[in-house]
């Protein structure tokens, strides 16, 4: 995590890159989501929408890369709000990079929070854009203990 005590508007969030969007992960994700939409796993079917031989990454996974950037920057329970819009689809084999910039730092509910512009880029093109609100003071002691797993 970065030095969150000194975060101020204008700061860039360290980027997070997914170097290769993997179709196997899309298939796993489709099962977890109980998502019957074939665009995520049926390469042949996607010829009908001009994407023969390609499959389309799930929107939640695209957002997941943005979230991973935030978690790496501000800690595992930092996310307070995500408001995002989806642009062009991300396809298997793409490389994408999440980025962000702090626009405001304020105290909300007795917690110091950063409002950030966030995005996901593919070859310099924004494919996801939005706003994230992130807590800047999420120490592990703030977390409610839970049972552990083997």
């Amino acid at each position: 995590m970065s030095d969150l005590a000194n975060v101020e508007p204008g700061d860039d969030i360290p980027p997070w890159t997914m170097p290769l969007v993997d179709p196997a992960r899309m298939r796993t994700m489709a099962a977890i989501l109980r998502d019957p939409y074939p665009v995520h796993w049926d390469r042949d079917g996607n010829a009908a929408i001009g994407l023969p031989g390609r499959v389309i990454n799930q929107g939640p996974l695209n957002l997941g890369y943005v979230v991973n950037m935030l978690l790496a920057w501000a800690g595992p329970s930092c996310v307070r709000r995500l408001s995002v819009s989806f642009g062009r689809p991300v396809l298997d084999g793409d490389a994408v990079t999440a980025g962000g910039r702090v626009t405001e730092v304020s105290i909300i509910d007795d917690e110091r929070r950063a409002t950030c512009e966030v995005w996901l880029d593919r070859a310099g093109e924004h494919v996801v854009t939005g706003t994230a609100v992130v807590a800047l003071s999420t120490a592990p002691s703030n977390l409610v203990p839970t049972q552990s797993h083997d």
Partner: protein
């Protein structure tokens, strides 16, 4: 569920504008959902990172957990919107609020419904419908843990 796909899809049902607008106020049956460790582990792995500590759920669980927990499904939402087939559905956007950290092995109660629906068209004059649903998650103290509003685009 995809995002931002150029469409050649068409509606198999010919949902009328009146039918579309009547979706507003539709309430999902409601229910409960427990985020299992294996499920959170796999989902987190799909995003390309290691599991979070302390049983924390990856924040993107707020896509499928509310949908399944409130007693609906992606398939049923497609059916409600009267769409099927590649290119017929796209994600417009999300607004997700996290009031409390979401965790594995905790059961959440959910309630929600469709909050907006409207018909519009693209530059080529093709009919495009938009609808949004909102679902609230309550923890075991019956306190609001999270709230999602998801906006979908249905292409006719």
């Amino acid at each position: 569920m995809s995002d931002g796909i150029a469409s050649t899809g068409s509606s198999p049902t010919g949902l009328s504008e009146t039918d579309l607008e009547s979706l507003v106020g539709h309430r999902f049956v409601g229910g409960r959902y427990r985020i299992e460790h294996w499920e959170n582990w796999l989902l987190t792995d799909c995003t390309g990172r290691d599991p979070l500590p302390d049983g924390l759920a990856h924040p993107i669980v707020l896509f499928h957990v509310p949908i399944l927990g409130v007693g609906t499904s992606i398939a049923e939402l497609f059916e409600l919107g009267g769409v099927a087939g590649p290119g017929s559905v796209g994600l417009e956007g999300y607004d997700w609020e996290y009031i409390r950290p979401l965790r594995e092995d905790m059961e959440y109660r959910m309630e929600g419904g469709i909050v907006t629906a409207r018909r519009t068209s693209d530059d080529a004059g093709r009919v495009i419908d938009e609808f949004a649903f909102e679902i609230t998650l309550f923890d075991d103290d019956d306190q609001v843990a999270a709230r999602v509003t998801n906006r979908w685009v249905l292409r006719r």
